[in-house]
């Protein structure tokens, strides 16, 4: 199902949680709402579900106006951050709940049983049907919550920080599993997260939000490699930020000229160059333009790549991430003065 959000605004007292949001959720896609806490992403999700209502604006489900429809009429599946499993019911009863409370077209006992068994299999919890939520691990609870939401065959699946309450390892497993599940079930899904890695790994498209507004919408590649704003650049992974001025299409970072590869922006006295740690290289010799002297402060080789922290002449800390091969070639020592160079960068006016 396709969802259109048009000019949605939601104030909470003096605070504007959502400010004139426009968004299209494509049929069958897995969309991530990404942003720091308080950016309005959960409010948007709850408004999509009908648990909350916007003050102005419209929501269309497949072109049909759903703005004033209540949560029951919308037929959405919602997975809560803390699962919200019914604590007095077994796993089986939790999943069957949505089918049992149906007023019209309630399936027969046997059909309910078959459907629940099928869902238990889908989330790989066949053996735990008679357990209570308190007897399950966090990851298992999350899967029960998902099965329960899917039981009513919702038109859309909405997930609020689905992995937020899990430890790192389970989190990674479960998000890959969710991706595979989505490829199987192909239900239009929207999930909220503050973890950029999670959004970039799982989603078909990412909506980056900040202070009640959408900063950028795009595929993970687009938002990561072509951030539309300083906020997106800063929020999606670590970034080094250099103050500069731009003169005749060239950026000057403390008088060191930087060649700009993208279309050169207009001249400006105040602008910023954004460079991700992995876009920086470390060299023993001065390598022409885009090269700054800096002294090594820390080297961490414990990881897939080597993190190097350097200090520029004007006292700014710079993070670089280089390969182990490169580390062996350059052999940076703490205290040594080397040169950092970059080929890729992003420039935004202040």
């Amino acid at each position: 199902m396709k969802i259109s959000v048009q000019n949605l605004t939601k104030p909470f007292g003096a605070f504007t949680a959502l400010n004139d949001i426009n968004l299209e959720v494509r049929s069958g896609e897995l969309l991530a709402l990404l942003g720091p806490s308080g950016c309005g992403k959960t409010t948007l999700l709850r408004i999509l579900s009908g648990l909350e209502f916007a003050d102005t604006g419209h929501i269309l489900f497949d072109g049909e106006d759903a703005t004033t429809q209540n949560v029951r009429a919308r037929k959405v599946g919602f997975v809560f951050q803390h699962y919200a499993l019914f604590r007095h019911m077994t796993v089986f009863e939790n999943i069957a709940f949505g089918l049992r409370v149906r007023r019209t077209g309630r399936p027969s006992r046997r059909d309910i049983h078959a459907r629940v068994e099928e869902l238990l299999k889908l989330v790989k919890l066949e053996t735990l049907a008679s357990r209570f939520p308190s007897q399950l691990s966090g990851g298992q609870r999350q899967r029960v919550a998902l099965a329960r939401a899917l039981a009513v065959e919702p038109r859309v699946l909405l997930l609020d920080e689905p992995f937020g309450a899990l430890d790192a390892k389970v989190r990674q497993e479960l998000r890959r599993w969710l991706r595979r599940l989505h490829d199987e079930v192909h239900i239009t899904s929207v999930f909220v997260t503050h973890d950029q890695e999670e959004a970039l790994e799982v989603a078909d498209r990412v909506v980056v939000m900040n202070k009640g507004q959408i900063e950028q919408v795009g595929t993970p590649e687009e938002v990561y490699h072509h951030p539309a704003s300083p906020f997106v650049c800063d929020f999606l992974g670590n970034v080094n930020l250099f103050e500069c001025r731009i003169h005749y299409g060239q950026a000057y970072v403390h008088d060191v000229p930087f060649e700009l590869h993208n279309a050169p922006p207009q001249d400006a006295q105040h602008a910023y160059v954004y460079v991700r740690p992995h876009q920086l290289d470390i060299q023993r010799e001065l390598g022409g333009p885009n090269s700054l002297p800096a002294s090594v402060r820390l080297v961490n080789t414990a990881g897939a790549q080597v993190d190097v922290e350097l200090l520029t002449e004007w006292g700014q800390i710079v993070h670089a991430r280089i390969s182990h091969d490169r580390h062996r070639a350059v052999r940076p020592q703490v205290g040594q003065t080397l040169f950092i160079a970059t080929k890729e960068m992003k420039v935004f006016h202040a």
Binding site: K75, H82, R87, V101, G138, D167
Partner: protein, 292 residues
């Protein structure tokens, strides 16, 4: 040694202090609770079982017992509904004046029962605000059963609400929201999700409410008028018998109230244990989510 054992050592007093404190507490309990409790039954049976049964089966006593049961039968269900509604509103919604409502619910605890009774006399009594109107329409409230019920309802209304508010706040609203997203109606959500989650707390509140409804003296005394066989509850009947020097009879009726207290206490302890489990479970699942 486990950390718990170390902690115990650090905060434990020498043995003789412990035993002295325990002995003091026990002696105090024996003197002020055990002894009077025993005295009630000893005095009640001082003139034998025949007098005992006569005292509690005579028509006037029987009328008092029935009135007490009737009052409780009205007051407890009313306060059950009110308590659930108030706790629901306070725990599940944000609104202006919430603190005021919580304070108002506690009012009967902080006001002397005599004052509670007088309030009703001032409103419904012959010289009260609504007195003339009520007289014109031939309705008697004060010095009649309605007044007794009203005063009892007022005095006992905090019990259920007070018990449910912390429980419902700890449990939050997510389960109800989940039920709604799964297509349940408001009623289905209430009966299938909310009630099972609060049932032990609710029962506990009802037990306390009932005990107070049957045992209330002050407020009821003011509005009752002490008409034998008509407006005397058990507590008032005990007082009258006692004032008339019918000690054995007075204690016989009093022993019924005492038995009620003992049953209440036993039921209360059993239910209290379940409530603690429920509250712990609610907080635990919440904490776990916050920690991980």
């Amino acid at each position: 040694m486990t950390p718990q054992q170390i902690a115990e050592r650090a905060t434990t007093e020498p043995r003789w202090i412990r035993w002295t404190l325990i002995a003091l507490a026990l002696a105090f309990l024996a003197l002020f609770v055990g002894l009077p409790l025993a005295a009630v039954f000893v005095s009640a049976l001082s003139k034998g079982w025949a007098v005992y049964f006569a005292a509690i089966t005579e028509p006037v006593a029987w009328a008092a017992i029935k009135l007490t049961l009737l009052t409780a039968a009205i007051a407890v269900p009313l306060n059950l509904v009110f308590g659930v509604a108030a706790a629901w509103a306070i725990a599940k919604f944000e609104f202006r004046g919430k603190q005021v409502l919580i304070t108002l619910i506690d009012l009967p605890f902080s006001v002397s029962p005599v004052v509670s009774g007088l309030i009703y006399v001032l409103i419904f009594g012959l010289q009260g605000w609504l007195g003339p109107w009520l007289q014109d329409h031939d309705i008697t409230i004060i010095f009649a059963v309605p007044g007794i019920v009203l005063a009892t309802v007022f005095v006992t209304f905090p019990f259920v609400a007070r018990e449910l508010i912390p429980l419902m706040i700890a449990q939050g609203t997510e389960e109800e929201e989940a039920a709604l997203t799964l297509g349940a109606s408001g009623w289905q959500t209430f009966w299938r999700v909310t009630v099972p989650n609060i049932k032990w707390g609710l029962l506990y509140g009802v037990i306390l409410c009932n005990a107070r409804a049957m045992g209330e003296f002050g407020a009821v005394s003011v509005v009752s008028g002490h008409i034998r066989g008509l407006t005397n509850t058990m507590t008032l009947h005990v007082e009258i018998l006692y004032n008339e020097y019918q000690t054995a009879a007075a204690f016989a009726v009093a022993s019924l109230l005492t038995l009620l207290a003992l049953v209440t206490l036993a039921a209360k302890s059993a239910v209290e244990w379940r409530v603690r489990q429920q509250l712990k479970a609610a907080r635990h699942s919440h904490d776990e989510d916050l920690l991980t």
